[in-house]
Amino acid sequence: MGRAKDVLISAALLVVGRHRRPRLGDGERIVPDGPAERGWESVAIVLFGLAALSALAFPILYGLDVSPSTQLLGISLGLSLVLAGAGLVVTAHKLVVTEEIEEDYPPEEHPEEQELVDRIVQESGGRLTRRRLFGLALGGAGGAIALALVTPVVSLGPVFRISPLLGTPWRRGRRLVDEDGRPWLASDIEENDFYTAFPEGADDEELGSPLILVRLPKHALRLPEHLRDFPANGIVAYSKICTHAACAISLYRTPLFAQDEPRRALVCPCHYSTFDPADGGSVIFGPAGRKLPMLPIHVDRKGHLRAAGNFDEPVGPSWWGVRLRKPNP
């Protein structure tokens, strides 16, 4: 019993007790000496101690999973790191010497070495008679191998086929359905509201799929000649994908009191391209460079909305061919 106590006391003394500063060997010191800073030494020790405590809290908090766990875990880990870092900063400033040593910068260049390298290369090629041709052949081989090695990159996607970019699932007669696949009735579509529609049985996530439907009063429509018969009973259908940067147009600005408020518009929330639903989707404001593609629709005998063809323009953001081609059926 007494023995254990002795061991503990001596161990504690060993750790806590102050040692005489080590005597270094004779000869000139490399690192200059400085005065002891007992106060700062205590500060650093306390900081490291607190850092250890804070870090030890981490596994405990993790194990107990006390709420709010993310905050407690973050505080314990973050604080321990900051405390230990602060201890090291104290060490740097107060407990080790800050030397200011002077030294030469490395030489700007090594002309003799440069010369030697040049000679080694030149002399190694001394046996070649047609250097230029040799170099060309070697370079050609290297280039061709590199080309061969990058060729498989083409498999990554249909790089030479642009038809996928023009494809939309819309074709004549295809019904307009909602997100759950229920067909939209023309009578569902009311003025001053907007609706999202998809082609029946197609992939909703394709850029060519989603439509935004709005119903406008007859007198409000100002469609250009070639789009005159695109609406059905005042319902107009546009691609929901902005022609600027492919975001979904999910803002419909429809004034309650038209005399005094901004006029009807479809707006994209990414860069605020603003389109006029009344005149075929022209750009009123914002960075879009192209009008919104419009889909011709009609109402079938059961009152369901159906596509009457494909969009008047390719859907999605502009690329080199959007004005050259029509969307694929």
């Binding site: 900063v89 009311e190 419909y252 009191f257």
Partner: protein, 256 residues
């Protein structure tokens, strides 16, 4: 004007007559009519019918446009009156502005009086009583994404529409949300019970109420706005702290 006034009197008389067991107009309706005359008539016109030439005030457009300056209130019902008055949207400080949430100018009694008066102008919808507790938050989030997030932002923190601001919904009560959905104030779409059923509306409201105090298990919520405030914290908290640390560690140039 005189025929209008006569019609108005007739309407009022009819209204009064319709009130059972009361020979004279109740004080509340009388108060409502009085307040209407004070605060609303200039734009909405006598009797809630917009006049071809209303009396403008402030820098209004009425001087140049001889058109109505505000929508007719006949048939908007208690629902609209309740919404606009309790949000402080009305009365507008001056014409042509987007109505914004503001201090409510009226006492509870005055509110009831005005709402009652506007409701009396013509048959219209009552103040709705939504039941968000019956709603489903997950369905609400889904519907909110489809119908509302484009303008109001996915966590209902508000947003911008060209030419208008979609207000944040932090202060909106269940009733106000239900009212706004049915009215479509300013440039907001109007959703009928066909587009959004009352049941779906309950779910949307349940979600909006949830979004006022959502699960912020990550800590300081930064307004649920994402990258903009996160960038501010990066620069003004993290980068600032780390630059100060660098300055504490390294030397500064002394001028000489």
């Amino acid at each position: 004007m005189t025929t209008r006034r006569a019609a108005w009197l007739v309407a009022l008389l009819a209204l009064v007559a319709a009130v059972p067991a009361a020979a004279a107009p109740t004080p509340l309706v009388e108060l409502g009519r009085h307040l209407y005359g004070q605060h609303c008539v200039a734009c909405h016109g006598m009797n809630g019918v917009r006049t071809p030439r209303a009396i403008g005030f402030g820098r209004s457009r009425t001087q140049t446009e001889q058109e109505a300056v505000a929508p007719s209130l006949v048939g908007v019902g208690a629902l609209a009156a309740d919404f606009y008055l309790r949000t402080g949207y009305m009365p507008l400080p001056h014409l042509g502005l987007q109505p914004r949430r503001a201090r409510v100018l009226f006492t509870e009694r005055q509110l009831r009086a005005l709402v009652g008066y506007v409701a009396s102008l013509g048959p219209g919808p009552k103040v709705p009583t939504p039941h968000p507790q019956r709603g489903n938050i997950s369905a609400g989030l889904h519907l909110f994404t489809d119908h509302c997030a484009g303008c109001h932002q996915i966590a209902a923190e508000g947003g911008y529409v060209t030419g208008a601001v979609a207000p944040p919904l932090e202060e909106a009560t269940s009733t106000q949300i239900a009212e706004a959905v049915r009215i479509g104030p300013y440039v907001m779409p109007r959703f009928s019970t066909k587009a959004i059923t009352d049941r779906q509306l309950d779910s949307i409201i349940a979600y909006v109420l949830y979004a006022k105090h959502p699960d912020d298990r990550g800590g300081w919520a930064l307004g649920h706005l994402g990258p903009v405030p996160e960038g501010l914290v990066t620069w003004f908290v993290a980068a600032a702290a780390l630059v100060l640390t660098c300055m504490a560690i390294g030397k500064r140039l002394k001028h000489g």
